[in-house]
């Protein structure tokens, strides 16, 4: 979760279809139902490593949480910046973010200590 600065430039290149002046160039929407999550330019692009549980868990693997490492996020300082979003109950000092309309998620997480939210670029649609 630290070392944000070090890799910043490298990954900004990779995502610059979506990122302009350090924030989301386009509206951020749910991949599944199109519900609007963030207005343009309201999420600050950051690179940091975080393991996020998969949106579709394989239920055959009982009791085993499958997750993937995600590095590109939009940082949202104030939760009321979101247009539409769901917050789960707290798990280990985090809340997971979900689509307010179809409940798909996690599309990101909320840190209870800093009160900041992070939306994974790979889990949302840009339109």
């Amino acid at each position: 979760m630290s070392d944000t600065e070090i890799v910043q430039n490298k990954s900004e290149e990779a995502s610059n279809d979506f990122v302009e002046d350090g924030s989301n160039k386009l509206v951020v929407k749910c991949k599944f139902c199109g519900s609007k999550i963030l207005e343009k330019k309201t999420g600050k692009f950051v690179v940091q490593e975080m393991n996020l549980p998969l949106m579709h868990q394989d239920t055959r693997k009982e009791g085993e949480l499958q997750s993937e490492k995600i590095t590109e996020f939009y940082h949202v300082e104030n939760m009321y910046t979101f247009e539409n979003i769901g917050f789960t109950l707290t798990v280990d000092n985090y809340k997971y973010l979900s689509c307010a309309d179809c409940d798909a998620g996690p599309v990101g997480y909320y840190d209870m200590n800093t009160k900041h939210s992070y939306v994974a670029l790979s889990r949302v649609e840009h339109a």
């Binding site: 599944f32 609007k36 207005e39 309201t42 549980p53 998969l54 949106m55 579709h56 868990q57 239920t59 949480l65 300082e77 104030n78 939760m79 009321y80 910046t81 979101f82 247009e83 539409n84 979003i85 769901g86 917050f87 789960t88 109950l89 707290t90 798990v91 809340k95 997971y96 979900s98 307010a100 309309d101 179809c102 409940d103 798909a104 998620g105 996690p106």
Partner: protein, 209 residues
């Protein structure tokens, strides 16, 4: 960052266990994400942005699921809430009778001017109905609270209910602002128009078909 909205309202869903509060907030019951990670953990609250008469309004909607087992919600939970949805299940007589207890709980714990609305949920289950719509309306008249029957399952009247509650809170706030800002203090754009919704609309029908 500059504030990007005009109003922020905190709303609570209150009522007996099993009346469908969570379904009103969380629609996972039958769709693809039923088995997802999110439904396993459960939703704490949602933020929704709506447009009310040209104003951008953020709603922060809290589920009280789990707490209602104690038949009471603590003062801490009510703190800062400006609107409360009182939910009962039309197929469960007891949950309807308990609305009165919930109102008492609100009166004891929430701020005195909190806006309230009664929702008779699960109105799609007509065959199992135990509480008629008329009784719901009567109760609403008795307490002078707005009422609507909803079906979270069919998304019937749910959005309408939130808009109605939000509009009432907004109207109340604007009235307060006007009272503290005597006439003339505000700009010339102010209108004396009545912005309340049409009086007939608050008893909207539960018409699934």
């Amino acid at each position: 960052m500059a504030k990007t909205y005009d109003y922020l309202f905190k709303l609570l869903l209150i009522g007996d266990s099993g009346v469908g509060k969570t379904s009103i907030l969380f629609r996972f019951s039958e769709d693809a994400f039923n088995i997802s990670f999110i439904s396993t953990i459960g939703i704490d609250f949602k933020i929704r942005t709506i447009d009310l008469d040209g104003k951008k309004v953020k709603l922060q909607i809290w589920d009280t699921a789990g707490q209602e087992r104690f038949r009471t919600i603590t003062t801490a939970y009510y703190r800062g809430s400006m609107g409360i949805m009182l939910v009962y299940d039309v197929t469960n007589e007891k949950s309807f009778e308990n609305i009165k207890n919930w109102i008492r709980n609100i009166e004891e714990n929430a701020s005195a001017d909190v806006e309230k609305m009664i929702l008779g949920n699960k109105c799609d289950l007509d065959a199992k109905r135990q509480v008629s719509k008329e009784r719901g309306e009567q109760l609403a008249v008795e307490y002078q609270i707005k009422f609507v029957e909803t079906s979270a399952k069919d998304s019937l009247n749910v959005e309408y209910a939130f808009y109605t509650l939000a509009r009432d809170i907004k109207a109340k706030m604007e009235k307060k602002q006007e009272a503290s800002n005597p006439a003339g203090a505000r700009s010339g754009t102010h209108q004396l128009r009545d912005e309340r919704p049409k009086p007939t609309s608050w008893l909207a029908r539960c018409s699934v078909l």
